[in-house]
Amino acid sequence: MDDEDTITRRRAILAGGATLGFGAGVAYLATRSPSTDSTYEPATIHEGSGASGLGIELSGRPIVGEPDAQVDLYYWTDYLCPFCARFEANTLAKIGRNYVDAGQVRIPFLLYPNIGEYSMPAAVWDRCVWEQVRGDDPNAYWNWHGEVFDVQRSSGDGWADDATFADVTERVADVSLSDVESCRETRGDAIRDQLDADASAAQSAGIRGTPGFVVYNRETDQAGRLVGAHPYDNFETAIDRVLAT
């Protein structure tokens, strides 16, 4: 048997098969569509008031979930952040179905513009949309927010500009582009102050990137921190841990 130090047909076939398998595996991971759950819509979105027990200012901020939910999951995001888009596509709906709809968790949507030049203007668009819809149709904010991340996911670099955000705003039902534009002109400075407060709260909580999360049990005062687009299981563990305290 001449198997030592020679190229055998068996090894050649094995190597060829393994190389093909490796390439096919990478192609599969690259092209499999993320399990985007665009059908989820939270039952309640309300406007926050005052500072939370953790000292995070919630006045005027959108909060997904019941006002009296036991746990806060503070979520700092940036519309230019690709991993925020991944979190939105893969994990947010699952948290919504399992914890928000069960009344255990509420998610204050906070902004931490830090990725690119248009991060701050995008955040101003966000707050102007929220201010416009919060009274009559707060769920329109959810739809607008999801639509922006959908556009980010399907675009390359340089997608974020006034025209793209105007297009999204025009597309989403129950959001008036002219009202939002007028808010951007007249309320821009006040909103930027509010956004600075959001970013300062993130930094105080030790968040150095997006998406950033703090899980906080409002009854027992126990908190935990998560940074990055973690798999759902990590959120489940973090939420269950503070719920159990």
């Binding site: 030592e4 130090d5 020679t6 190229i7 055998t8 090894r11 050649a12 094995l14 190597a15 393994a18 190389t19 490796f22 390439g23 990478v26 192609a27 991971l29 690259a30 092209t31 499999r32 993320p34 690709p82 991993f83 991944r86 996911r153 390359g156 670099d157 990137g209 998560l226 940074v227 990055g228 687009a229 973690h230 798999p231 990590n234």
Partner: protein, 191 residues
């Protein structure tokens, strides 16, 4: 003159082929090359977004498979098929190069010193070029790759070409290099 160049080219092609198929000579080498290939791919893909990787692994190192899956998709979305193919090809070539380099080191033949000297700079240079975005990102130069031609793709292609050149120079690691001007002594191969 042209005849000499053509002969040299043919010899380089034969050396490159000999280097590329060398891991097929034993099961252990084949398995080793496979492991290095997968390890290199994981390292390259995770280094494309070092901050995300750090956040993920700091919490739980078993999330590495999730990280590789997520970042493979991101590499495809940001660099397309070409960018992803470059990472795969580089990983495969590194698997071969490391297997060959290990043999060269073990045998410590007279030719070992020059061949190792020939192959290691290639591996390092190609490595830096191929995962450049990750390395530069980790060093804090996040925008550096963006200003390079074709967003760094050219640099990665160059890195892979460099790796191929160095593999061709080293040839079959079981052969003794006679000298810069001479050929190789195939008779020295272990039969």
């Amino acid at each position: 003159m042209i005849g000499v160049d053509r002969r040299r080219l043919r010899r380089s092609a034969a050396d490159l082929r000999a280097a590329l198929v060398y891991p097929l000579t034993t099961d252990v080498r084949l398995f080793g090359a496979g492991l290095v290939t997968i390890g290199t791919y994981v390292l390259l893909v995770l280094s494309t977004y070092p901050q995300f990787t750090r956040q993920l692994l700091e919490r739980d190192v078993t999330d590495v498979t999730y990280g590789v899956s997520v970042l493979t998709r991101e590499v495809y979305l940001t660099r397309g098929w070409l960018g992803l193919a470059l990472v795969v090809v580089y990983s495969l070539l590194t698997g071969v190069a490391v297997t060959n380099a290990v043999t060269l080191l073990r045998h410590r033949r007279r030719s070992g010193a020059t061949s190792i000297a020939g192959i290691l700079p290639g591996v390092l240079a190609a490595g830096c070029a191929s995962c450049g975005a990750g390395v530069l990102g980790a060093l804090g130069f996040v925008g550096a790759m963006a200003v390079l031609p074709y967003d760094g793709t050219l640099l990665r292609v160059g890195g892979i070409a460099l790796l191929l050149v160095f593999l061709a120079r080293a040839g079959d690691p079981r052969t003794c290099s006679i000298g810069a001007g001479g050929g190789t002594d195939r008779g020295a191969s272990a039969e």
